[in-house]
């Protein structure tokens, strides 16, 4: 991309900082910011100019559950989590999302419908034979990613149906959504640019069998630092048992 002249840079920075840029335009500036130090400096300048305006907002005491959730998200990973023992905890970020309740019902319905035709594959170590399948879709319900797991082989195959890398400085992280309010389990990072195979540890492989769904969240480079999803959920889908 051609370098911005000073005036357009200043204007772009101002509109970005104010918040008039949305959607792809905003994402584009965020990508530019990774590499364009002059633009970054302009944006920082505007943020500093605007920030005092926030002082005029009437403070509103947030409910205690927000802090409890933050505290849990930033907690160091526990060797043996005992979810039931955590006192009165708020269901995590994911359970918070509006569509999530709806998804849970849909996933349960899909699983019930398909469990009847499940055929357990022979425990052969040789070919990849999917035992579980999920099609992850975006907000517009467009399929984006085909995720197939072979629980016996402890492998997950990922096939982008719509290819594209994560935005600069970000990563796609694949999560297993588990039943009974257990926190999502990370299966690893997904490139998004081509087919990919991820080896699972025994725990993850076993978890696949009882999982209700899978999802991709947008995380910082290198993946979620907390072990729990931190960024927006981009793609989500129910896991169903494969019909072999």
């Amino acid at each position: 991309m051609r370098a911005l002249d000073a005036e357009s840079r200043s204007q772009l920075a101002a509109e970005y900082a104010l918040g008039t840029l949305r959607g792809p335009a905003r994402t584009r500036v965020e990508r530019l910011l990774e590499t364009d130090a002059a633009l970054r400096a302009e944006v920082e300048g505007w943020h500093a100019r605007f920030a005092p305006l926030a002082g005029a907002v009437k403070p509103v005491e947030p409910p205690a559950r927000v802090w409890l959730a933050v505290e849990r998200l930033i907690a160091p990973p526990r060797p043996a989590p005992v979810p039931a023992a955590l006192p009165a905890r708020r269901p995590g970020l994911w359970q918070n999302l509006g569509f999530w309740r709806g998804f849970g019902l849909a996933a349960a319905a899909a699983a019930t419908a398909l469990v009847a035709v499940m055929v357990w594959p022979a425990p052969t170590p040789l070919p990849f034979q999917p035992t579980h399948v999920a099609i992850l879709a975006d907000d517009a319900k467009q399929p984006v990613l085909l995720v197939r797991a072979d629980a016996a082989l402890a492998e997950v195959s990922i096939e982008p149906l719509r290819r594209g890398p994560a935005p600069a400085g970000k990563a796609f992280e694949l999560w297993l959504l588990r039943a009974n309010n257990q926190p999502p389990l990370s299966l690893g990072l997904v490139q998004g640019t081509g087919p990919q195979l991820i080896a699972l540890d025994r725990f993850a492989a076993e978890s696949v069998r009882s999982a209700t769904g899978a999802a991709i969240s947008l995380e910082p480079q290198g993946g979620s630092p907390s072990g729990a999803p931190t960024g927006p959920v981009l793609f989500i889908g129910a896991i169903v048992t494969a019909q072999n």
Binding site: Q11, A17, R49, A51, A56, P62, N96, G98, S226, T230
Partner: protein, 192 residues
């Protein structure tokens, strides 16, 4: 610089808390939360209008603050400016993930909002620790000023500002564009 004014969000204190947070000090982070969460929650509510979304954005914002506190650079700005920026960016991202029509039918949440067309202009008058930008906003035409403040406080798009003010979008775009240019000129003069 030091906050004898007793401002809860004195920049020095917050900057120090951010630096401690960057070093993994959870107690400093908890204090930072106590001192800033009501302000940031108010900001997120103004943009998102719904308490559940604002709570989600606030949670997200503080997780980000914890994770990236090491990127705070005291030489580039105050602590409050840094956390406000993260909170606003998070609220705008949350907004972009939500279809606007989900706003419909939430009259209860809307009713809790200090809203109204004249509000942003009055709000900027109330600024005490922001005389500079407040003074410069006052130099703008009324339409320029209210358009900019509607975007800042309510997270409206230019189209939504146009609908709210019942003006063509092209007009609103040029108000905002010219308003920002004049604002920068004024602020640069003021700090020169």
């Amino acid at each position: 610089m030091n906050g004898q004014a007793g401002a809860k969000m004195g920049s020095d204190t917050l900057g120090a808390l951010l630096q401690a947070t960057a070093g993994g000090d959870r107690r400093a982070f908890a204090r930072l939360y106590d001192q800033t969460a009501p302000q940031l929650f108010g900001l997120a509510l103004g943009i998102l209008k719904r308490r559940d979304w604002a709570e989600e954005a606030l949670q997200d914002a503080y997780t980000r603050i914890w994770r990236s506190a090491h990127r705070y650079d005291a030489a580039k700005g105050t602590g409050i400016s840094w956390v406000v920026t993260i909170a606003r960016n998070t609220a705008l991202s949350t907004l972009m993930r939500r279809p606007r029509d989900e706003f419909a039918g939430n009259a209860d949440d809307m009713a809790q909002m200090p809203s109204g067309d004249s509000d942003p202009m009055q709000r900027s008058m109330q600024l005490s620790d922001a005389r500079q930008i407040s003074g410069c906003l006052d130099e703008l035409d009324g339409d320029q000023k209210s358009s900019i403040l509607l975007v800042y406080y309510e997270g409206l798009t230019q189209k939504e500002v146009a609908d709210r003010l019942n003006k063509p979008i092209g007009t609103v775009k040029s108000w905002i564009r010219r308003g920002l240019i004049r604002l920068k000129g004024c602020l640069d003069r003021a700090s020169a």
